[in-house]
């Protein structure tokens, strides 16, 4: 109950950091997002659940314009992503302007996507020094602090290929954080990891949530959703099927799709390990 109060308190105070309005996205004939509406407030941790193919990742990728919406709009910090409102129409932005907008969102991918030709520290320095044109010396201190906070300070000068999946993902989180984004997007951050490495990444994410970072997390980790999320969004067939605090959506689901999904997860968990 404390989390709900916490969230509602935030809602009363401020405008949403991310506002998704009537978002639609089609790939050819396939309509992945039919109509999505979602508000994310500063400091909120929103976990998106749903079957694969329900449009979770597509929605997340629309927030930083890695996917171009077919309709509707996404606003980050009150600014329409990828477009400029001019008169009655939304005019598409130039690539450089979109790049500037993206600097405000951090993204963590399922497959880590560290830059293999750069050392861990260089991975962290690249964007702040090039995109924000900050001095490398200044950024280096912050980068080292972040690496310490994800427990990888001693790996600063090695190449990513020498790290485990869990370590790579923690570096990827630090790489996104060093840009000081106003919201962090996580696209199934633990799905590519060996089971024993999932915990260390979730621990870093929990710590980040505690620090007050606004987070939108697409995941299958129900435990994380229950323990950390302020809001759980269940998506089905390109729409938000159900939305609310974890105590409601996970423990007392109303929508049929949510019930079926959670039941199938429980069955999988109850299956004895061979």
């Amino acid at each position: 109950m404390a989390t709900i109060a916490h969230t509602e308190h935030l809602r009363d105070q401020s405008d949403p950091i991310v506002k998704i309005v009537e978002l639609r996205k089609s790939f050819g004939d396939l309509e992945v997002l039919k109509s999505v509406n979602l508000d994310v407030y500063p400091g909120q941790v929103v976990v998106i659940l749903g079957r694969s193919g329900s449009g979770k990742s597509t929605m997340l990728r629309c927030i930083n314009h890695l996917e171009k919406p077919s309709g509707g709009a996404v606003l980050v910090n009150g600014e329409v992503v990828g477009y400029r409102l001019k008169g009655e129409k939304l005019h598409e932005l130039r690539p450089n302007e979109i790049a500037r907008q993206r600097a405000a969102t951090g993204m963590v991918f399922q497959s880590f996507n560290l830059f293999p030709h750069l050392t861990v520290l260089e991975n962290l320095l690249e964007a702040p020094c090039r995109v924000l044109r900050r001095s490398p010396n200044e950024v280096r201190d912050e980068a080292m602090k972040l690496l310490t906070s994800v427990g990888l300070a001693e790996k600063a000068n090695v190449y990513p290929s020498t790290l485990s999946g869990g370590q790579q993902q923690r570096v990827a989180i630090a790489r996104a954080l060093v840009m000081k984004p106003s919201v962090m997007l996580f696209d199934e951050p633990t799905s590519a990891l060996d089971p024993e490495l999932v915990g260390e990444v979730l621990e870093v994410m929990k710590e980040l949530a505690r620090s007050g970072m606004t987070m939108i997390v697409v995941t299958h980790e129900i435990g994380f959703a229950r323990g950390v999320a302020d809001e759980v969004v269940f998506m089905a067939e390109g729409r938000v099927a159900e939305q609310g605090p974890p105590s409601q959506v996970i423990d007392n689901p109303q929508a049929e799709a949510t019930k079926t999904f959670l039941r199938s997860l429980n069955e999988r968990r109850d299956t004895p390990v061979q």
Binding site: R102, N113, H117, E126, A127
Partner: protein, 338 residues
């Protein structure tokens, strides 16, 4: 062999099944023994045989008077040969540089979203890869027969702004350099394209998500990774170009080979002069190979299984590194590959 082994290792066959404990310790004793690697007798025989063949070959080459070693020595540093070698190196370096620049542009056209650019680049590749270099060189050499004047002006027969007669615009050197570069650029375009496509799309996305613009992502993230794939075949192309450049002898540009030919058509010392030419080609390709290996190592950094997992910025040519250090890096290649 089998029986001999059985005699030396009697523990292999447990003599008494009832004494389980003693059998176990016996087994442990057996397994704790030194292992004897398998001897590859066939390989040893082949190696000895080959050594004999090579020794015989070297002996025959040294003792055979027909090789005319004194003549070889006489022409090895002959001024005409040296000048020819210089021309060959200039042809290789300049035409290869032009080809790489042109190749990158062609690859960019092929990968662009614009259908016209794709088609034009495709047609270019089709022509320059589809016809022999020899023909392209002669064609270019005789371009004045098709177009007596070359210049830049208003298209479709409008007035000319700058220009001149084809033969004055296309000097012998221009024909050779442009001819080699046009042909080579078609191959370079495919090498560059393959390299760029080898970098996973996720890398572009990760760069974009961090707010990098397209140029920044290309220069800092995509290109350095593509170069790992582009460099090895490009090295081959440079080595190839060093030798193919000898085709310019058809337009009478005195490169290394043509300089030698001009001498032996008069003195009939064909074999010694070809040995001289081969020596210089081999020396140049050997040096290029060493450079190629170093550049490959530089661009392979950070790749799993690759020897360099520690940062190695700015050491392509071993510049700024003490000489001793360079030598260890060079000699350690084979050791670290194992």
């Amino acid at each position: 062999m089998e029986s001999a082994k059985a005699k030396t290792h009697p523990q292999h066959t447990p003599s008494n099944a009832l004494s389980a404990t003693s059998a176990l310790t016996a087994d442990q004793q057996t397994l704790a023994r030194e292992t004897v690697p398998l001897r590859h007798h066939g390989r040893t025989v082949a190696a000895v045989f080959l050594l004999l063949v090579v020794a015989n070959l070297v002996h025959s080459m040294v003792t055979n008077q027909n090789f005319q070693w004194p003549t070889v020595w006489h022409y090895l540093f002959f001024p005409d040969i040296m000048a020819g070698l210089g021309r060959t190196l200039i042809l290789t370096v300049v035409s290869m540089t032009m080809a790489i620049v042109l190749g990158i542009l062609l690859a960019a056209c092929r990968l662009s979203g614009n259908k016209v650019l794709q088609a034009v680049a495709g047609a270019y590749l089709w022509f320059f890869r589809g016809t022999p270099l020899l023909i392209q060189l002669i064609f270019l050499y005789n371009l004045s027969a098709l177009y007596p004047r070359l210049g830049i002006g208003v298209p479709f027969g409008g007035p000319e702004l700058i220009g001149g007669s084809t033969n004055s615009v296309l000097s012998l050197w221009t024909v050779a350099l442009v001819g080699l570069a046009l042909h080579e650029s078609a191959y370079m375009a495919e090498i560059v394209r393959g390299g760029l496509l080898s970098v996973p799309k996720h890398q572009t996305e990760a760069a974009a998500a961090l707010g990098m613009n397209n140029l920044m992502a290309f220069r800092r993230i995509i290109l350095p990774q593509a170069l790992r794939v582009i460099v090895p075949p490009t090295g081959n192309q440079v080595i190839g170009m060093l030798k193919y450049s000898s085709l310019v002898s058809v337009i009478a540009l005195p490169d290394l080979l043509y300089s030698a030919q001009m001498i032996y058509t008069q003195t009939f010392e064909t074999i010694p002069l070809l040995i001289v030419v081969s020596f210089w080609y081999l020396l140049c390709t050997s040096i290029l190979t060493v450079f190629q290996q170093r550049i490959e190592r530089y661009y392979g950094r950070g790749v799993a299984g690759h020897q360099s997992t520690t940062p190695a910025r700015g050491r392509i040519l071993g510049l700024g590194v003490p000489r001793k250090r360079v030598r260890t890096t060079l000699s350690s290649t084979t050791a670290e590959e194992g």
